[in-house]
C-alpha cells in the first residue's frame, strides 16, 4: 500500500482544567489517502474538532497539549516539528476552514487582503501578483464580481459568501489536505448545498484530500469516501461509506442512524440513545458507551474493548468477539421499543380551529436622516395566515431570516403586530388589554431553541416551574408541591430536580425543564421555536418523543417552527413554507413534502442531504442569498433565485392557488389551476 497522505497514530490531546485532566482526544488513529474525503462523525464533545486542531497543531494553549501519538504528513511527524516549521505547512500543505464563518474572518481587514496575506506569505508573490491571484481565487470559489468584492469587508457579505472566502483562503496555498470543521453547520440548507457542491468540485479539480468533520450523517453520506465515528474521545467505528450506511457495526453508529427522524418513523417513537455522553475527566475501565448501550453486558463494564480491524475499517466493540450477545440484546431491545411506543395523534374528527392567524404583519420601522424619519420598514412578517386545530402540529419552515421566529413571538404578543389578527378560541388576542391578555396567557406558550439561555440561571428549577403558575394563578390539582413532582416525572426528570439549579442539567434535560415549565400552566397551544436544533441527534429524538407523547395526552396543538425538514416530515401534520415574511406553500405534510409545487419548496427539499446513499437526488440549485426584507424584490420575492421564473414573476406577487383542499401555494406556475 502506498504511503497515506496523513496518518494519525494513537493521538492523545488532553486539557488540564479545574475539574482535572480532560482527555478530549484519547488514542485516535486513522489514515487519509490522497484525494479522498474522510469524514469524522460524532456528537458535540466527542473530540472531533480537537482532533482536527491537533493535526494543525492549533490546540488552544496552554490548557491543551498533545500528550502522545504521531501525526504523519507523508511520513513526516508533525509532533516533532518546531512551531516555525509548522507555520510553513499551515495554510500551505494543509488548510482548515471552521464552523462559524461569521466570526472566523477578521472584521476589520478586507476579504481580499485576507487572502492576499496568505499568498504573499506562502507563495512569496509580490503584491500585484498576489492581488491578481486572490481575485482568481474569489472567482474560483464562486463569488460574483470578484474584483469589486476584493475590497469589501466581511460584514458586507452573507454567511455563505464568508464561508466561500474562508475556502478561498484555505485554497491559496494549494493544500494537499483540507480540514473542514463543520463547514456548513451554521448555514441554511440551500447554502449548505452550494458549499458542499463547491467542495466536491474543488476536490475533483485539485485532487486534494478533505478531512470532513461533521455531526450530520446526511452530509457524510453525500460527501465521504471513508467514515470514522467518534465517541467520547475515541474512534468507535471506521468503514467505507457504503458499508457504513448499509451495515453499521457499532451499537452507537446503529443508534445514531436509527434516531434520525423522517417520514418512515411517522407515528412511532423514535429510537433514542438514553443518557448523555460521559465526562472525559475520568479513566474508563470499560467501554465508554456501555452506560447508554442496549447491548451492554458485564464485560462491557469491566473490560476496555480493543480495536478490531475489519475488511474496510474496524470497530471497537466486544460484540465482534461475542456475536451471540447481540442476538440476546436485540430481543431485549424489541421489548424496549415496544414499551416506548407513543400514541398516534389525529384520531379526533371534530373540526374546531384552536388558533387562527390571519394576515399577520410585523413591520419594523427603518429610521434615517437628521430627525430619524421613518424611511421604510423591515417587513419581517408580511401577511401570514395559519390555523391550528387542537391536537395537531403545524410546522412553519424556512431559512434563517425568513421571519418565522417573528411569527411565533407575534402570536404570543411578545412583539406588537402591525396588522392582522391572532384569534385564539374566538378572541382576537391583539385587541385585548394588557390585563386581559395576561389572563389568557396560560393558553398559549412557547418553547425556545437554546436550552442554555431559556432558563434563568439564578432560579431553582422548582421556582421556575412555580413562576408561571403564580403569575397566571393557574389552579393545580394539589395545593402542595406534589404537582411539580408529577410534572417532572411526566417529562422524565426526578422530583429532586426541583431543588437544583439549571446549570446542573444537560441540554436535553434543560429542554425537558422548559417543557415542564410550559405544561405547568396547562396551555392549549405551544409554539415550539426550533426546540431541538441546539441538541445532538440522539437527544433530539428524546425530546421529539416527549413532545409527541404529551401532544396525545393533552391534545396539545403545536406550532413547530423549524428549518429541519426531516423533523417536519416526522412530526408535523401540516406544513407552511415561509420565504421572506410570506408563506409560499401551505398544506398537509404528505402533499407539501411528498409533492412540492412551489419552486422554493422543491429547492429546499432537494437541498437536504439524504442519509440513504443509494437514492441519487437531483439538487435544484438555488443561486444567491435571501434578499433583504427592507427592500424585497418587486414581484414574486423568490423570482431572482427561481430556476423557473417567468416575466410575470418580475411584475407582481402571485395570488394563492388552491391545488387541493389540503394544499395551496403562491406561484404563477399554478395560477391557472
Amino acid at each position: 500500500m502506498s504511503q497515506s497522505l496523513l496518518s494519525i497514530q494513537g493521538l492523545k490531546t488532553w486539557f488540564s482544567t479545574e475539574g482535572g485532566i480532560v482527555r478530549a482526544v484519547d488514542g485516535v488513529s486513522f489514515d487519509i489517502q490522497r484525494g479522498e474525503t474522510f469524514a469524522l462523525v460524532g456528537e458535540s464533545g466527542s473530540g472531533k474538532s480537537m482532533t482536527a486542531l491537533s493535526i494543525m497543531k492549533l490546540v488552544p494553549q496552554p490548557a491543551g497539549r498533545i500528550e502522545s501519538g504521531q501525526i504523519l504528513l507523508e511520513g513526516e511527524d508533525l509532533c516533532g516539528l518546531p512551531e516555525v516549521a509548522m507555520r510553513g505547512l499551515r495554510g500551505n500543505r494543509m488548510s482548515m476552514i471552521f464552523q462559524e464563518p461569521m466570526t472566523s474572518l477578521n472584521p476589520v481587514i478586507s476579504i481580499g487582503e485576507q487572502i492576499r496575506e496568505t499568498l504573499e506569505y506562502h507563495l512569496k508573490l509580490d503584491a500585484k501578483m498576489a492581488r491578481a491571484r486572490a481575485v482568481d481565487l474569489l472567482d474560483l470559489v464562486g463569488i460574483p464580481d470578484p474584483n469589486r468584492r476584493y475590497d469589501e469587508y466581511p460584514h458586507q457579505i452573507s454567511g455563505g459568501m464568508k464561508q466561500r472566502v474562508m475556502i478561498a483562503i484555505a485554497l491559496s496555498g494549494e493544500p494537499d489536505l483540507l480540514i473542514a470543521d463543520e463547514p456548513t453547520t451554521a448555514l441554511d440548507v440551500t447554502i449548505q448545498a452550494q458549499i458542499l457542491d463547491l467542495l466536491r468540485r474543488l476536490q475533483k479539480d485539485k485532487g486534494m484530500a478533505i478531512l470532513l468533520i461533521t455531526h450530520d450523517l446526511g452530509v457524510v453520506s453525500e460527501m465521504a469516501d471513508h467514515v470514522a465515528v467518534m465517541y467520547a474521545g475515541e474512534i468507535v467505528e471506521m468503514a467505507e461509506r457504503q458499508a457504513f450506511f448499509e451495515n453499521p457495526r457499532h451499537p452507537y453508529s446503529q443508534k445514531l442512524l436509527s434516531s434520525l427522524p423522517g417520514n418512515k418513523q411517522r407515528g412511532e417513537a423514535l429510537e433514542i440513545i438514553r443518557g448523555t455522553v460521559p465526562a472525559l475527566n475520568q479513566v474508563f475501565l470499560g467501554c465508554r458507551f456501555s452506560n447508554r448501550c442496549d447491548n451492554a453486558w458485564e464485560r462491557c463494564e469491566k473490560e476496555v474493548p480493543q480495536w478490531h480491524s475489519l475488511e474496510t475499517g474496524g470497530v471497537r466493540c466486544h460484540l465482534v468477539d461475542a456475536p451471540e450477545m447481540a442476538r440476546e440484546a436485540e430481543k431485549l431491545q424489541e421489548n424496549i421499543s415496544k414499551t416506548g411506543d407513543v400514541g398516534v395523534s389525529g384520531m379526533d374528527h371534530e373540526k374546531s380551529t384552536l388558533l387562527q392567524v390571519s394576515n399577520l404583519k410585523v413591520h419594523f420601522p427603518v429610521q434615517k436622516g437628521l430627525f430619524k424619519r421613518v424611511v421604510g420598514h423591515v417587513k419581517a412578517v408580511d401577511g401570514v395566515s395559519l390555523k391550528i386545530d387542537p391536537g395537531k402540529t403545524v410546522a412553519l419552515v424556512g431559512e434563517s431570516g425568513c421571519g418565522k421566529t417573528t411569527v411565533g413571538k407575534a402570536i404570543l404578543q411578545l412583539i406588537p403586530q402591525t396588522e392582522g389578527a391572532v384569534v385564539l378560541e374566538n378572541t382576537d388576542l391583539s385587541t385585548l388589554s394588557r390585563e386581559a391578555l395576561r389572563q389568557r396567557r396560560s393558553d398559549f406558550q412557547i418553547i425556545f431553541q437554546d436550552p442554555y439561555s431559556s432558563l434563568n440561571p439564578r432560579m431553582l428549577v422548582g421556582d421556575i416551574l412555580k413562576e408561571g403558575v403564580k403569575a397566571l394563578k393557574v389552579e393545580q390539582a394539589q395545593d402542595d408541591d406534589t404537582w411539580m413532582d408529577e410534572l417532572l416525572d411526566q417529562v422524565g426528570l426526578t422530583p429532586d430536580a426541583k431543588d437544583r439549579y439549571p446549570h446542573e442539567f444537560s441540554g436535553g434535560q434543560r429542554q425537558r425543564i422548559c417543557i415542564a415549565r410550559v405544561l405547568a400552566v396547562q396551555p392549549k397551544v405551544i409554539i415550539c421555536d426550533e426546540p431541538t436544533s441546539a441538541l445532538d441527534v440522539s437527544v433530539q429524538a428524546q425530546v421529539l418523543n416527549l413532545l409527541k407523547q404529551l401532544q396525545s395526552t393533552y391534545r396539545l396543538a403545536y406550532l413547530f417552527i423549524t428549518h429541519d425538514l426531516s423533523v417536519v416530515d416526522y412530526f408535523a401534520d401540516e406544513v407552511a413554507v415561509m420565504y421572506l415574511g410570506r408563506i409560499v406553500e401551505y398544506g398537509s405534510v404528505e402533499s407539501v413534502l411528498g409533492n412540492p409545487k412551489h419552486p422554493y419548496t422543491q429547492a429546499l427539499l432537494s437541498a437536504v442531504p439524504q442519509v440513504d446513499p443509494k437514492k441519487k437526488r437531483m439538487i435544484i440549485r438555488v443561486e444567491g442569498d435571501l434578499p433583504s426584507p427592507i427592500n424585497p424584490p418587486k414581484g414574486c420575492y423568490f423570482h431572482p433565485r427561481c430556476p423557473k421564473s417567468m416575466p410575470v414573476c418580475r411584475e407582481e406577487y402571485p395570488d394563492l392557488s388552491v391545488l387541493s383542499p389540503s394544499h395551496e401555494t403562491s406561484c404563477f406556475l399554478y395560477s391557472g389551476e
Binding site: 389572563q439 396560560s442 406558550q445 412557547i446 439564578r458 432560579m459 403569575a471 446549570h503 415549565r517
Partner: protein, 472 residues
C-alpha cells in the same frame, strides 16, 4: 447603671454600621446558595487573594474601631447638676492608642529619635543659653544615655517581642491545623504536610503567613511605639504613626460609603433604562451624559466649594469640629458617588438590553410575569456579578482619589486626619534641608498596602465572577 461616657453616633458611623449589616446579610444569603458560593470558592483557593483579604480585614478592624465614637463625662461641678460631657469626640481606637495620641512633642522629630530634629535655644541649668538639639519629651525618654543606650535598647525590645510573637504564632498555627484536621478528618501529620505545601482547598498557608506577619509587626510596633516615635513626629509634634492609623478610617469610608451611596441609583436607573427603553431610556441617558460631561474633579470641586460656603454660613449647626468634618466627609462620598455611578449605570443598561432579549426573560413574559418581578428576579440577579466587580474595582480608585482631592483642596476637611492631608502637608517638608521624609513615607506605606491588597483582591473577584474570563 451609668457610664462615664456618652455614645456619639456620627453620620458616617451610621452608614458604616448599615453597610456592615448589609455585607453580613449578603454573606449569610450567599452562604446558603450553592451556585453563588462557587466563585467565592475559587477566590478561596488563591493565595494572593487570601493574603490580600487578611490585610484588608486588618485595615477594616482598625477602621471599625475608629468608628465607635463617644464623649467622656466631665467631672461634676457644683454649679450645675446636669451631666457634662467633653466636647472632644473620641473613638475606641483613640483609647487604644492613647499613648500615641498624647505623646505630643514640640515639633519635628525623626523616627526612633531621642532628640528633636531642630536646634533650639535652651537655657542650661547653669543659666547659659546654647543652641542644642533638645531631648524629646516622650521619644526614648526612659533612656539615661540616649547616645549609647538607644540601639541596644531597641534591639532587645524588638528581639524579645519577636521571639515571644513567633512563639504565639506557632502555637496558633498548630491550633488551626488541629481544628482543620478534625474538620476534614485528615490525620494531623498529613494536614501539616498539606498546609506547608499549600495544597489545601483554602489557601491556608497564605492566610496564616500573612496573619502571622501582621501579628508580629503589631506585636513589636505596639509596645515600642509608646517608648519611641516609630515614624517620627510632624510639625506640631503629633506622632506620625498615630496620624497614619487614623487615616485608615477616612480611606475606608471614602472607598466604601461612596459605593453604598451610588449603588441604588446605578442599579435602579441602569436596569430601568435598559429594560423599558424608549422615553425612560432617553431620559436616563440624558441624565448621565450630562453629569459625565462635566469633568469629575471640577464637579467635585464646585460642589465642595459650595458646601464650604454653606457650612460657613451655618457654622452653628455643628456641635464639634469632628461632626463638622464628618458631615463634609459624608458629603464628599455623596458627590464622589454622583460622579462614579455613571460607569456602572451605563454598563448595567447595556447588560440589561442584552438580558431582556434572553429567552428566559421572553419565557417569563409569555408566562405573564410582571415587569417589576422580571427586573428584580430575572435581570438583577444576573447582573449582580457586574455590580460586585464594579464595587471592588472602584474601592482602590476611590482611596487614591481621596489623596488627590485633598491635595487639590477639595477633599476631606483640613481638620480631619487623612492620608491625603498628610501628603499635602508633607509636600513642602521635602524642600527642607535636611529632608523631612517620614510623614510622606508613613502615608505611602499605609496607603500602598491598602490599595495593593484591594487591587489584588479585586482582581481575584473579577476573575472569579466575570464569565468572559473563565479559563483564561
Amino acid at each position: 447603671m451609668e457610664f462615664p461616657f456618652q455614645w456619639t453616633l456620627l453620620w458616617t458611623d451610621r452608614m458604616i454600621y448599615l453597610l456592615l449589616v448589609l455585607v453580613v446579610g449578603f454573606g449569610f444569603y450567599v452562604s446558603r446558595k450553592e451556585h453563588l458560593l462557587a466563585p467565592w470558592r475559587q477566590i478561596r483557593r488563591r493565595p494572593f487573594a487570601m493574603s490580600a483579604l487578611v490585610l484588608l480585614l486588618f485595615y477594616l478592624s482598625i477602621g471599625l474601631m475608629d468608628s465607635v465614637h463617644f464623649r467622656k463625662q466631665l467631672p461634676m461641678t457644683d454649679t450645675s447638676k446636669a451631666l457634662q460631657y467633653d466636647p472632644e469626640v473620641l473613638s475606641l481606637l483613640d483609647v487604644l492608642l492613647e499613648g500615641l495620641k498624647n505623646n505630643v512633642e514640640k515639633t519635628y522629630s525623626a523616627p526612633l529619635a531621642t532628640h528633636a530634629f531642630n536646634k533650639q535655644m535652651l537655657e542650661g541649668p547653669d543659666g547659659t543659653k546654647q543652641r542644642i538639639y533638645p531631648r524629646l519629651k516622650y521619644g526614648g525618654a526612659h533612656l539615661v544615655n540616649p547616645e549609647t543606650d538607644r540601639w541596644p535598647d531597641l534591639l532587645s525590645r524588638v528581639g524579645e517581642r519577636a521571639v515571644f510573637g513567633i512563639g504565639i504564632i506557632v502555637l496558633f498555627y498548630i491550633w488551626v491545623m488541629l481544628v482543620l484536621s478534625q474538620k476534614h478528618q485528615i490525620p494531623p501529620k498529613e494536614m501539616t504536610r498539606k498546609m506547608i505545601r499549600g495544597e489545601t482547598e483554602t489557601a491556608w498557608r497564605a492566610i496564616l503567613l500573612t496573619a502571622g506577619l501582621v501579628f508580629i509587626v503589631v506585636g513589636i510596633a505596639g509596645p515600642l511605639s509608646t517608648k519611641y516615635h516609630l515614624f517620627g513626629t510632624d510639625k506640631v509634634g503629633q506622632d506620625v504613626l498615630y496620624l497614619a492609623l487614623k487615616g485608615v478610617r477616612t480611606g475606608l469610608v471614602i472607598g466604601t460609603l461612596t459605593t453604598l451611596v451610588m449603588l441604588p441609583f446605578a442599579i435602579f436607573l441602569g436596569i430601568s433604562a435598559g429594560y423599558f427603553r424608549g422615553k425612560i431610556d432617553d431620559a436616563i441617558q440624558y441624565l448621565y451624559t450630562t453629569l459625565s460631561s462635566i469633568p469629575g474633579v471640577l464637579l467635585i470641586a464646585a460642589a465642595v466649594l459650595i458646601l464650604q460656603v454653606y457650612m460657613d454660613k451655618n457654622a452653628d449647626a455643628f456641635a464639634s469640629i469632628t461632626e463638622r468634618a464628618d458631615i463634609r466627609l459624608l458629603f464628599l462620598c455623596l458627590i464622589l458617588g454622583v460622579t462614579s455611578w455613571i460607569g456602572l449605570c451605563r454598563m448595567l443598561r447595556g447588560e440589561t438590553l442584552k438580558l431582556r432579549e434572553m429567552e428566559y426573560v421572553q419565557a417569563a413574559k409569555a408566562l405573564g410575569v410582571g415587569n417589576q418581578r422580571i427586573m428584580t428576579h430575572y435581570i438583577l440577579p444576573n447582573v449582580m456579578h457586574l455590580v460586585l466587580i464594579a464595587v471592588v474595582l472602584d474601592f482602590s480608585g476611590l482611596v487614591l482619589a481621596e489623596a488627590i482631592l485633598s491635595y487639590v483642596g477639595v477633599g476631606v476637611d483640613p481638620a480631619m486626619i487623612s492620608w491625603g492631608n498628610m501628603i499635602n502637608s508633607a509636600r513642602l517638608e521635602l524642600a527642607r534641608e535636611p529632608v523631612v521624609w517620614w510623614s510622606l513615607t508613613a502615608a505611602f506605606i499605609f496607603m500602598f498596602v491598602l490599595v495593593l491588597a484591594a487591587n489584588v483582591f479585586s482582581d481575584a473577584v473579577r476573575d472569579a465572577f466575570d464569565p468572559r474570563l473563565r479559563g483564561r
